[in-house]
Each structure stands twice: as structure tokens, then as C-alpha cells.
Amino acid sequence: MSAQHRATATGTGRSLARSRPRYGEQAIKVVLMLAALVSVATTVGIVFALAEPTIEFFSEVSLAQFFGSTEWGPLFKPAHFGVWPIIVATLEITLIAIIVAVPLGLAAAIYLSEYASRRVRKIFKPVLEVLAGVPTVVFGFFALTLVTPLLQDVFPWLGLEPKNALSAGLLVGVMIIPIIASMSEDAMAAVPNGLREGSFALGASKMLTSVRVVVPAAFSGIVAAIILAISRAAGETMIVAIAAGFKSVFTLDPTQEMSTMAAFIAQAGSGDASTGSIAYKTIFAVGSLLFLMTFAMNWFSARMVQKYREVYD
């Protein structure tokens, strides 16, 4: 097509062709893509870094030993590689944390999104985000030096050990409240106001509207918040290392000292396990397992959300 032809097509004598090349646009696209690649590459890198020592580990310790025994002590002589005690401890502390954080976090989110005035919300949300920024070592010492003694005083019959899963779990719970509250609040705030009005117009109270319309409509966002919180709780290291200790016992009793997977990694990693030793490889095997557990949960919940969410648009 000739230039003249194109020009007449637009009627103003000016072609619709790009008048000058947009190098800026191209450059930005490349930069953004590189930024996205960094996180993908990191994840892939982690998987590979974990994979090799993990495979080496399982060439020395059989899967049957790893999953078939309940005695854990890779750093002792003789070493034991039954992983269940630290799995159970991890799940237990995560469960305590979730029991604390889900109701409180959701209640806070409902309050902020549905009840609080704009002014209150403007004060509360930053406070919540500050709480999310508190270094976990602070929570750890809080658990060890304040919560455990307090619980020992108030419930002496519990027989709480100086280091125990209960206090650690409680404080891990406090740590993840802001994640749940803040992300859930965002999800609820995104629910169209028309849905609330529709509910109120039928004679529903604020509470019913929140619980039966807003929360279900924000369900996928809320589940995403809880999943992220669970992942953070399961991987939390500092609080459990300080407040729950390093003892590997196979028990469900939360009053006892117990080592989680993350705590074990921190302990072994900060010790003198030399590269290539079995203790060193154990770190990676446990790391891989934690990674897989978190990944499986994410995948599973993503599918669940797909199935049950209420799409509002």
C-alpha cells in the first residue's frame, strides 16, 4: 500500500503508522521481564540447590529409615534419621498458631473492613503492618521470658517446660495475625458494595451481611491469606528455636520442648556440620521436605479455592 493511500485512509493526511520508535517502552519491557525472571530463577535455583545434596542424602539413608522411624538425632552418635518427630512438632506448632491467628485475624479483618469508620481504619491498618514488621526474634524472647512464665503461673497444672511448643505456637500465631488480617481485609474491601446493599435491603444485620455475603465473596482472597500464613508459620525458625528448643521427642504434648524442621535446620546449619558430611546433607533433606510440604499445601488449596469460591464478577 502506498504512503498516499494510507494517508487518505485516515482522512487527515496523517498516517496511522507509528511516528517514532518507542525505545523506552521496549527497554521497560525488558527490565520488567528480567525482574520477573529473577524470582523464577531464584525458585528454580533453590530447587536445584536442594535437590543434589538431598539425593546424596537418600543414597546413604534409605527412605524407609527416614519415614519409617520415630527417632530423630542426625547430629548424635549413633545418628538416627526418623524424621517424624520434627514433622509432628512442625505441624503441631503450625496448628496452634493457626488456631490463634485465623479467628483473631479474620475478626480483625471483618472489623476493619465492615465496621470501622474510615478514621479508625486509617489508624489501625498501619499499626497492623508494623506488627507484621516486628523481628521474629522479639516474639521468640517474648514467648520465652514472658508468655511461658505467665502460663506456668496461671496454669501450674499444665506442667509447662521452660521451652515448649505451646508458647512458641501462640507467638507464631501472633506473628501471622497481621498477614491474615491485612490480606483478608484487602479481599473484603474489594467486594462490591452493591452486594452489601443487597443484603441489608433484605433485612440482614451487619453481622450476617459480613459473615454470609462478604466473607464468602472474599473467600479466595481469605484462603490465600491463610495459606501464606500457614507457610510462614511452618517455616518460622527464630521463635521456635528460642521458645520451643531443640529436643527431638516424638510427642503431641505441647507442654514439652520440641524441635521443628526449621529449628533443626537452623541448629544444624549453625553448628559445625562440615560440607559433605551426613549431618550437612540432612539439612538439605529436611529443607526439601519442608519445601515439598508447603508446595503441596499451596497446590491443594489453590484447587480447593477454584472449586468453592464465589466469583462476584
Binding site: 452493591g194 452486594l195 443487597g198 435491603a201 433484605l202 433485612g203 440482614a204
Partner: protein
């Protein structure tokens, strides 16, 4: 779908089909000197009108003149907007709607509302209908009630095989009829409709107009509409609002004229009404 049919051609006033003695009005709402504020802004000033029992009252007027604002006072929906406030008086069957003893939740249960934009809940069709009765304390299965409400809203035949399907899979017109069914399901005494047909095609609009006629046997209906023909076709009385600029240069919504629909459309008392209706304004 049409037992009641659209027997009336084009712009016929409702009068002949539903002969009523409109003069002897049995008041449901009485509005006296109502002004509504959003913060400091007086959106509507000094409105007086009466809504008759089992009548259809239309509110018309240019955009921004306060029709929705007044409508939302009837079920205290404006309470939910921070800073909104009503002055003056509205009585409902003689009882002060804004009295201290009045529970807005009870008000909204008795006075239902259908919104301009269809707003079904992102739940199943069934659950949308059952929601109102459930939040009002009804328990268990309510298949009959769901069928009844959907039938009344002229939607049953279209959805009876997919009650478990998400309501958002319906078309816009179906969604709006679902919202009407949802409002009917709590058995309100009054239904307020804010431009219920504005997003709909002529066929869906006709269905909803038929439905309103049908419903007006049992319910009192107040409808806001931009469609003059619609007001003429369906309503018994019409309130014409407009926006006026006061001495200070602030715009307020005002009620210009309120009368039987036949009179508003054939022999309006106010020049502004006539201009608006004949299309010389806004």
C-alpha cells in the same frame, strides 16, 4: 409468560386498565418537609408527598435531582452512608419511620428494594432467593418459597432446571428478575425500585413492567425511572423532581409536582414538568 399481558399500546396511561379511585388515597408513606443531607450538602430540600397503598408511584426527573436519595429514605438505606442524614418527617402507616424506637433492620425487612444495577449474590440461584428468609430466621428447605418467588418474578421457567447454578451465570435481565424474586421472597409490604430496567433490553423491560403490574395487586411499589413512557405505562401517580440552584449557588433537588400519572402526562400544572415530559429539558 404473560397472563397479564401488555394489552396497552405504546404510551397509554395506566388508568384505564386498573380503574381506581385515586383521589381517596390510602397512605402508606407520608413524607412531610423532607430534606436529605450528605454531610453539609443538602441534596434534597423540602419534599412533601404521599405514597398510596397498592399503588405504583413513579419518581422521574433529570439526573442528580435526588430521586434515589428520596427513595433510599423509605427503607432507611441512607443510614448506611456515613454522613447521610434526613430531616423532616416520613411516616409509615402513621408510624414515624425515623423514630428512636424504630429498628432499621425491621424496616428493611418490610420494605424491600431492587437496585439499578442487578446485584445478585455470588451464590446459587436457589441460595439467592433463600438468603432473605434465612437471615430472617427461617430454617430448613424452602423449595416451595423459592419456586413461588421465582414464578412471581416470571423467571421460574427459565431457571427451574438450574437452581444450583451460580446466579451470575444469568443474563442481566434474568439477574434483575432474580433480584426482584429475592426481594419478594421475604414477603415485604412495599417494594422500592431504583431504575430497575435501566440496564435491560426492551423485552426484559416489558417483562419487568408486566411484573410490576402484577405485583401491585399485593404490594405498594415506588419506582424511580428515567423512562417517561415507563412511568406513564405503569404508574398510578408520578412525582417529578428537578434540581434548583438556590441563592447561594448550591444545587438542591426539589419536588416540582406530584399528582396522578394521567394528569402529570396530559395536563401538568407546572411548566417545568411539561417541558421535561415533552423533552424540552434535561
Amino acid at each position: 409468560m404473560s397472563e397479564i399481558g401488555i394489552s396497552m399500546p405504546n404510551v397509554t396511561v395506566r388508568g384505564p386498565e386498573a380503574p381506581r379511585n385515586l383521589e381517596s388515597l390510602d397512605p402508606v408513606f407520608q413524607v412531610e418537609d423532607l430534606s436529605v443531607f450528605y454531610g453539609d450538602y443538602e441534596a434534597v430540600r423540602n419534599v412533601d408527598m404521599t405514597i398510596g397503598n397498592r399503588e405504583i408511584t413513579a419518581m422521574i426527573g433529570p439526573s442528580g435531582c435526588g430521586k434515589s436519595t428520596v427513595l433510599r429514605c423509605f427503607n432507611r438505606m441512607n443510614d448506611l452512608i456515613p454522613g447521610a442524614r434526613a430531616a423532616g418527617k416520613i411516616t409509615y402507616h402513621g408510624e414515624d419511620l425515623y423514630g428512636d424506637h424504630v429498628d432499621p433492620i425491621e424496616v428493611r425487612r418490610r420494605i424491600g428494594m431492587v437496585f439499578q444495577k442487578p446485584n445478585p449474590f455470588p451464590k446459587s440461584i436457589y441460595d439467592n432467593i433463600a438468603y432473605g428468609p434465612r437471615v430472617n430466621g427461617m430454617k430448613g428447605k424452602m423449595d416451595d418459597l423459592v419456586e413461588q418467588a421465582l414464578t412471581q418474578a416470571a423467571l421460574w421457567d427459565e431457571v427451574k432446571d438450574k437452581l444450583k447454578q451460580n446466579a451470575l451465570s444469568l443474563s442481566g435481565g434474568q439477574q434483575q428478575r432474580l433480584c426482584i424474586a429475592r426481594a419478594i421472597a421475604v414477603k415485604p409490604e412495599v417494594i422500592l425500585m431504583d431504575e430497575p430496567c435501566s440496564a435491560l433490553d426492551p423485552i426484559a423491560t416489558t417483562k419487568i413492567e408486566d411484573l410490576m403490574q402484577e405485583l401491585s395487586r399485593d404490594y405498594t411499589i415506588v419506582i424511580v425511572t428515567h423512562n417517561m413512557q415507563q412511568a406513564a405505562r405503569v404508574s398510578d401517580r408520578t412525582a417529578f423532581f428537578t434540581a434548583e440552584v438556590d441563592e447561594a449557588g448550591v444545587r438542591h433537588g426539589r419536588l416540582v409536582e406530584f399528582d396522578e400519572t394521567s394528569r402529570i402526562f396530559t395536563n401538568p400544572a407546572d411548566k417545568r414538568t411539561e417541558d421535561y415530559i415533552t423533552g424540552r429539558f434535561g
